[in-house]
Symmetry: D2
Subunit: 318 residues, 4 copies
């Protein structure tokens, strides 16, 4: 959903102002600064501030490795080296702040990542907007029959219609009763002078988990990459993955060398166990290896073979 006219006016006003700074600047990220990048049906991600970039990673690593590295190593090589060898602290030297609008059930998954700073819109103090998430028909998935924590086929026909109907009707009714209990609407207009109105901190409990909330979320580059690695993964719930995908693209703008190394080593890479390594080594030497030879479980054996037999490598940055 595009921002309202008022919101867009505020964003345009912020974007119109520029000031000189001695700090490192990243023009590619400034290009989208403050803009509401749309996610799901009413959500967005906005980059509202940042600090550092690839060169801040390199600078921090060179303090810790000494000036001698300056000559020999190119920045990209150093960043790849740091990523490969889990030297993570230099990536902490960059910081980014997002303003995010997201359904409450997504916020609950997101907040499990504790290594960030958060300020959320308070429904103790204010009244939430009448906006709730309903999946796009393409994402109205059935429960997976093979994986208890996953999705199967997309629902269709009468079953899909009924689900859409229930989700919309229940959310609308929950909000209508929220306003009724509050005895005021979102603009603070009183409804019935004879009533006191339930405390906001209590009335909110009647809302369903697909209502939208919003927050400022500030995180360093290392912790952001860890979040994105987990939440852009195919096993993550689609709704939070939609946010991770948009944010991953802001990392590409912000710190392109780090992004490329991350796509190669983390997103496109894989971890092999000692047993998995043994299988690979023996196969490369021309031996045939069975699951029992290495003592793997059937699930692990399937995962390993799926990984090794994949025809096309996962796409990485060019």
């Amino acid at each position: 959903m595009p921002p309202t006219t008022d919101e867009q006016r505020e964003i345009d006003a912020l974007r119109a102002v520029q000031a000189p700074t001695r700090r490192l600047t990243v023009p590619d990220l400034e290009d989208v600064l403050y803009q509401a990048l749309p996610v799901l049906d009413h959500g967005f991600v906005r980059v509202v501030d940042y600090m550092g970039s690839d060169s801040a990673v390199v600078q921090a690593a060179r303090v810790s490795y000494g000036a001698g590295t300056k000559r020999a190593r190119q920045d990209a090589g150093l960043i790849r080296y740091l990523m490969r060898h889990a030297h993570t602290t230099p990536f902490e030297m960059c910081e980014i702040k997002y303003h995010v609008k997201l359904p409450i059930f997504v916020a609950r998954q997101w907040i499990r990542h504790r290594t960030a700073s958060v300020n959320e819109y308070s429904a103790r103090y204010s009244i939430l907007d009448n906006e709730f998430y309903v999946p796009d028909p393409a994402h109205l998935a059935a429960q997976s029959t093979s994986n208890r924590q996953g999705r199967g086929d997309v629902l269709s026909g009468d079953e899909a219609s009924r689900v859409f109907d229930l989700l919309r009707t229940d959310a609308r009714q929950a909000y209508a009763h929220y306003e009724e209990m509050l005895n005021e609407d979102v603009h603070g207009n009183l409804r019935d002078e004879s009533r006191q109105g339930l405390a906001r901190e209590l009335a909110r409990m009647n809302l369903t988990l697909n209502f939208y909330t919003q927050w400022y979320w500030k995180v360093n580059l290392h912790n952001l990459l860890h979040f994105l690695w987990l939440r852009s993964d195919a096993h993550a719930q689609y709704e939070i993955r939609a946010y991770a995908t948009v944010m991953l693209d802001t990392v590409r703008r912000w710190a392109p060398l780090t992004y490329a190394a991350f796509m190669d080593y983390r997103v496109g890479g894989a971890n092999l166990s000692a047993k998995g390594l043994q299988v690979v080594r023996r196969r490369l030497r021309g031996e045939s290896v069975s699951r029992r030879d290495v003592g793997m479980s059937p699930a692990e054996w399937r995962e390993l073979n799926a990984l090794l037999d994949a025809e096309e490598p996962p796409s990485t940055s060019p």
Copy 2:
């Protein structure tokens, strides 16, 4: 709500087993170990493990202060000294783990405290129980007219009846539709063979914020006290305060000297600003001081006078 028969049987079985240990033990806390201490209408707090006690605080402080302190200072005095001078690291040497059942809107406040470890029941994977919170009539408060983030009088009569009716009806309907969309009940019984059932990770979004969830929550004593200081405060929402109150009593059992110091310095104490100190000093010297003399805001001035004029000190531990 008391545990079900099955749950109580599991708790009794856990409590029946004892084993010898060389570790520090705290009999007063063992007395309630594993028990479900009731909170709100369906919630509970259970202490499921602990490590350390007052003497672990003292032992850690004495490593950092040297063996010489052992003679001169009693343990209680040392703990009071540590608390008074914000030497907080020795309190980190104790750890406790709770199992908590709580409404989702309370869980959302609670989880803002990031310095703990959490494992929550997964509604991606499992089906939530049909249990939701409805306030006791004594806590069905109106919105405060003086404080936007607070409660006023208790609602009564028709307005109260209507609120109870809305909260119960909407929660029941949300759960009924949750089951219908899932196409199975909480025991995994299929409802309609012709339908696939919506994925659990999606269906949960139809539940309201007063449904109960549960988690394991593990925290060190320092961070626990900070949590309890904020959440047992009169400004905290009643529902989370109800949990803090029960947990505070487990601290009293677990580390009584620390508890007593905490009640004196944090819960019963107060912070004076430089301006506030100036007011106190001048009044004690017999001068009269006005708000403008020290440049306080009206709100601050009111708060200061309320603090200084209180007849009875906040109750502290004996």
Copy 3:
């Protein structure tokens, strides 16, 4: 110690470049950006990057409190309110990065604060400079006779001369032997072709704790204020206090409203226990109260009376 000519040239080059940004900028802090602010005999603090300022605190608080607060409250009042009521998360929305050169024994105290990101110059990889700290005569203090963790009078005469002599001689000898064991100097020049040279990661163990190291240290405003509150306190060791004092002045430039609130509530303020409050209340009502009436220890009673009888309030921001 002023930077070397080469270092100053690098700093000047960084300072000469400005670029436009849409981000919030703080001209008062840009004025000192990259400059080496001297501390102790060879140390410095350099602000090398920052993100946010007072208005980022306010913006984050208003997300969490809702747009309604915009009309009624001035920014300064809101910041004072947040500081007074321990609403600390909005202060986490600002971030600053320092480059610091400091003696190793100071670094060891500093690093106890875990809520920051650090990259330190690596003596496994590189060779440390021949620079060590020797106190100024005004800070060559005797052990306190009343406080085991403190300083007493300044040493003078022969005892002082002997201490200076020992500190300098031992440090010089340690460094000479460090170079000898390495078999190379700080520029990598080989000394004796017939020897292999001890590994750097081992040779460093011969250096004394007053040698200088350096690091990048990045922290949010909330955690920085906590660090400065503890480390600018009269009980902190003078050498780390010297750093805290210089950094406190960078906070004044960076976020002046937050700085003023911090000086009033934290630096100039004090915490009263429940017992202390009881003493104040009873004295203000004209009663006389004895130590035994409230059950305070002699040390606490002394501290309380020193606090209440102070003629002049601690200086605060104007």
Copy 4:
């Protein structure tokens, strides 16, 4: 170095006491509880408390996955699954506390891991013992010629003798002057009545980085494994690796299923990049792949081939 008679008596006294507890106990770990496990020439690691074990990991995971998993999965399989899929929070449910005696330069590496609680012996308050680390002849390594952050051959002959002599002489002299400046010995005996003695917080700066310090270090199982993964690695400095090796064995006693999964997936496993995966897949299909085909750097290519060509897999737990 074995503990002194007095220390051993204290340890024996602690070990002699047993008390009943309802908590989970781990007899294999109780067997070594409080014992000083020797490391380096004067150091030790002592397990002084613990909470949880493998079954606490499983219990926490089952809250987050729901009761349904109880039937189908064995504990070992679940723990392997959690480790393989980076579901790390259940491992946070176990906690351990160590008392460690270690050289200061090792402490400085160790403390970079910020996710633990630490209380260190205070040299502001107390006087350090006269104990310093000197490498065993087998570990007196030359600087590596191929890797700036590493060790090469072991030094021998005159060069080795000279290094031992310098390390010992400088440390002894530093300590003698430390006592002289303090004007007292470690037992607090005054040396010269005519002098005041330098403050302890200053005198300590004359000690070299190989002097021993000690601390309590408390950490959860997840963060401990991360520490051990980095510090038991062949790239870690030998001296900290010596501690990691001893601690790894305490994990084997404490949580054997987690230990086995950790050895297979982390210690014995390896991460392949997207490029590395592509090489493996193509080779397994019988294609020959060159470094340039996948755009790897020479260093990465060497590392990959060393990994894939290793004859013997890294040893893992049986």
